[in-house]
């Protein structure tokens, strides 16, 4: 979950990282009031969860409160990469002398957090790392307290920083790293980290990401920022179909039958589990199929849950048939999934023999499952038929319209 810039700055400020004076406005009136309070020149920044704000016209400067009001009016109406802004951040314009970069992420190879520092701020760090590797330094640090500030000192000093700047930058890096640890973040970035004309440092822009797994433990912070449980902030907002899929999955605790992602196709997919779904989805597309959805079933879902998922998928306009494919299952039961899917098809008013293009789930309780499939005349196959071949047969059937 990505935080808006104004939220990220609130988190940083609370932990002692200096930020510019100002606040977030939701109307031109409010922007004018904040600009007046701040005094002098201000910068107005659209609050969207996407890059490219400057280019799109989402960042403007104003010398007077009246000008700030006019810019805020325009920015609040401006969509950037399909997103309407959450608000407009109004901040004192800072006289910048030099820009740095400060970031913290996890390094999955070292299995530790890594702090990244650069004396070339304001541009994408990946680009700096590629074009000017000598201007990027990295330092891993322990996940256990107490925090070892000297590691951040070594990091900053490794790029030749000394004097007063070394102490100031070490403190900012340390605070950023500790914010990362304290709040279950997976990315904490200050870019640019600006040195002002007077020598002090402030966070001019910031990007913080919190993983979903950390949200329960960070309830207090999220409440403080006004971020509710329903606000998922995925790459794109969930569709009504996907929300109903999540409801099916949450309807009882037994297994998984949901995690639905909507696509624009005619072949409904009842597929699983994590890795199996990816493999089957690729196979369907490779054979020219047009999946109507991605989903995951696994962990031995109940009949009710498999039934609910099937009904949901069949309710989607344009779905002609469904395919039911999984890898060789261990704890999920073939007969239970077969019951759920057939029940879902029948309760939707269709004939399972006609609506289910192929059923390929081998594994535990398959003998019992195959009896059920035979009774309803469903075309099924066992473990001797590869997943991809099952996918191909399903695609052919939909194409033939039979």
């Amino acid at each position: 979950m990505r935080f808006y810039e104004y939220e990220a700055k609130a988190v940083l400020a609370k932990r002692g990282v200096p930020v510019a004076r100002g606040g977030v406005a939701h109307s031109p009136d409010e922007a004018e009031r904040i600009a007046r309070e701040v005094g002098g020149e201000v910068v107005l920044k659209s609050q969207v969860l996407t890059g490219g704000r400057m280019k799109a016209g989402g960042v403007q400067f104003a010398s007077t409160p009246e000008e700030a009001r006019a810019h805020a009016d325009a920015i609040l109406r401006l969509e950037i990469n399909g997103q309407s802004p959450r608000g407009v951040l109004v901040e004192a314009k800072s006289p910048v002398k030099k820009e740095f970069y400060a970031g913290v992420i996890y390094d999955a190879v070292a299995k530790l957090p890594v702090a990244i520092f650069s004396d070339m701020g304001g541009i994408d760090i990946e680009q700096v790392a590629e074009e000017h590797p000598e201007h990027v330094a990295r330092a891993h640090f322990s996940t256990f307290q107490p925090f070892q500030e000297f590691r951040m000192k070594e990091l900053v000093a490794s790029l030749g920083v000394s004097g007063n700047e070394l102490g100031a930058l070490t403190r900012v890096m340390s605070k950023l790293a500790q914010t990362f640890l304290a709040h279950g973040l997976t990315l904490a970035e200050i870019n640019p980290l600006a040195q002002l004309e007077d020598g002090s440092f402030i966070a001019l822009d910031s990007h913080l990401d919190m993983e979903d797994e950390a949200r329960d433990g960070q309830a207090a912070l999220l409440a403080e920022l006004g971020i509710g449980k329903e606000e998922t902030r995925q790459a794109r907002p969930p569709t009504p179909f996907e929300i109903r899929g999540a409801e099916v999955d949450a309807s009882d605790h037994r297994g998984v039958a949901g995690r639905v992602v909507e696509f624009d196709g005619n072949l409904g997919c009842v597929i699983g589990a994590g890795g199996g779904s990816l493999t089957i989805f690729d196979a369907l597309r490779k054979h020219g199929g047009r999946p109507a959805n991605y989903c995951e079933i696994g962990g031995n879902p109940s009949v009710k849950k498999a039934c609910g998922l099937t009904k949901l998928i069949l309710s989607k306009p344009g779905v002609e048939k469904i395919c039911v494919i999984m890898n060789v299952v261990s704890n999920t039961r073939v007969d239970i999934v077969a019951r759920g899917v057939i029940k879902g098809v029948v309760e939707s008013g269709y004939d399972p023999a006609e609506k289910i293009a192929i059923f390929r789930i081998p594994g535990s309780w398959e003998d019992e499952g195959f009896k059920i499939l035979e009774k309803y005349g469903v075309d099924y196959c066992d473990r001797t038929v590869p997943m991809s071949e099952a996918a191909r047969r399903a695609v052919e059937k939909v194409k033939a319209g039979a």
């Binding site: 996890y106 999955a108 190879v109 299995k111 530790l112 957090p113 990946e126 322990s142 996940t143 256990f144 640890l181 279950g184 997976t186 993983e211 797994e213 950390a214 433990g217 995925q234 790459a235 794109r236 992602v261 699983g272 589990a273 994590g274 890795g275 199996g276 779904s277 990816l278 493999t279 989805f281 690729d282 196979a283 597309r285 991605y294 995951e296 696994g298 999984m326 890898n327 060789v328 299952v329 261990s330 704890n331 081998p362 594994g363 535990s364 473990r383 001797t384 590869p386 997943m387 991809s388 071949e389």
Partner: protein, 302 residues
């Protein structure tokens, strides 16, 4: 031979009285694994399918050798369970639980590393060495596991537990048995990545080739390619890459927690290029894997 576990491996299950763990205990016993005890705080003195349950790990390790522990407790309790296992001298910790905060995963791995212990998972199904032992639930019921997994020369490393069995099944059907199959876990950070397990397989004279199941997201495939390119390996490696459709869908998480395309390096096309460049074969389909393995084994012999 095998890696990580063998017929003498003794292990416990932390959280043994949970719904899934009770089942796993039964399946491990049926497979012939040496499951010597379980731990659930407050349930000491009971038994699960004849396996004694204790309140603490220490009660078991103080009396007998314990080589491994399978952790199957709710996410909030995993880190401490891992600390408890490692502090009590257990050197192999297999974590089944998913949805553990990444910081806690990093902490327990860092702690295990300082104590010379190895972590497999989180979010994995464990380790299986056909005909010898199984530590975790991979393969399901013993009869099903025996059907999919047969002893032989192929090592498997997989980010998906379910697909580990699918691949083993394809290999078995083609007459290629397995030395050890490791479900390494689907999280962004796992205790043992491909490149860390490869040396163990290299040291196992009975392993003649490796099959790898991989996905978008994370640096694990690049790390393996780099390792093989720099150090070389006697083992032919055949990889399968799932989730090719995700290359067009940056920022969307599918399947496992670690499966997300955040940058170019996370895409399947980039990963496939790196694997191929290191001399690792990449199969288009699961069904193609046995043929490619046989071909690569033929080259080694020839």
């Amino acid at each position: 031979m095998s890696i990580l576990i063998d017929e003498d491996t003794t292990f416990i299950i932390q959280g043994i009285t949970g719904r899934e763990a009770v089942n796993m205990a039964r399946e491990c016993l049926d497979y012939g694994s040496k499951l010597v005890g379980g731990v659930t705080p407050g349930r000491g003195g009971r038994d699960v399918h004849g396996v004694p349950v204790f309140d603490t790990v220490k009660e078991i390790t103080s009396k007998q050798r314990v080589d491994a522990s399978v952790i199957s407790v709710p996410p909030a309790f995993v880190r401490d369970a891992a600390f408890e296992a490692v502090e009590n001298g257990i050197k192999l910790v297999v974590i089944v639980t998913e949805r553990i905060p990444r910081l806690e995963v990093a902490q327990l791995i860092e702690f295990a590393r300082r104590h010379g212990a190895r972590v497999i998972g989180p979010n994995c199904l464990g380790v299986l060495s056909p005909g010898k032992s199984r530590v975790g639930g991979m393969g399901g019921a013993a009869v099903a596991a025996r059907r999919a997994y047969q002893p032989g020369p192929i090592g498997i490393m997989s980010r998906s537990g379910g697909m580990t069995t699918e691949i083993a099944n394809a290999l078995t059907a083609a007459g290629l048995g397995q030395s050890t199959a490791v479900s390494i876990g689907g999280d962004a950070i796992v205790g043992s990545a491909y490149a860390e397990l490869l040396p163990l397989f290299e040291a196992d004279p009975d392993t003649k080739a490796i099959v790898v199941y991989s996905e978008p997201g994370g640096p694990m495939e690049a790390q393996l390619a780099k390792y093989v390119k720099e150090r070389g390996t006697r083992l032919p490696i055949v990889a399968f890459m799932a989730g090719r459709f995700m290359d067009e869908m940056p920022g969307m998480r599918f399947g496992h927690a670690g499966t997300i395309v955040e940058g170019k390096a996370d895409t399947t096309s980039e990963k496939i290029a790196r694997l191929l460049d290191a001399g690792i074969s990449v199969a288009e389909e699961i069904a193609d894997i046995p043929g490619i393995v046989k071909q690569r084994l033929g080259e080694v012999k020839g």
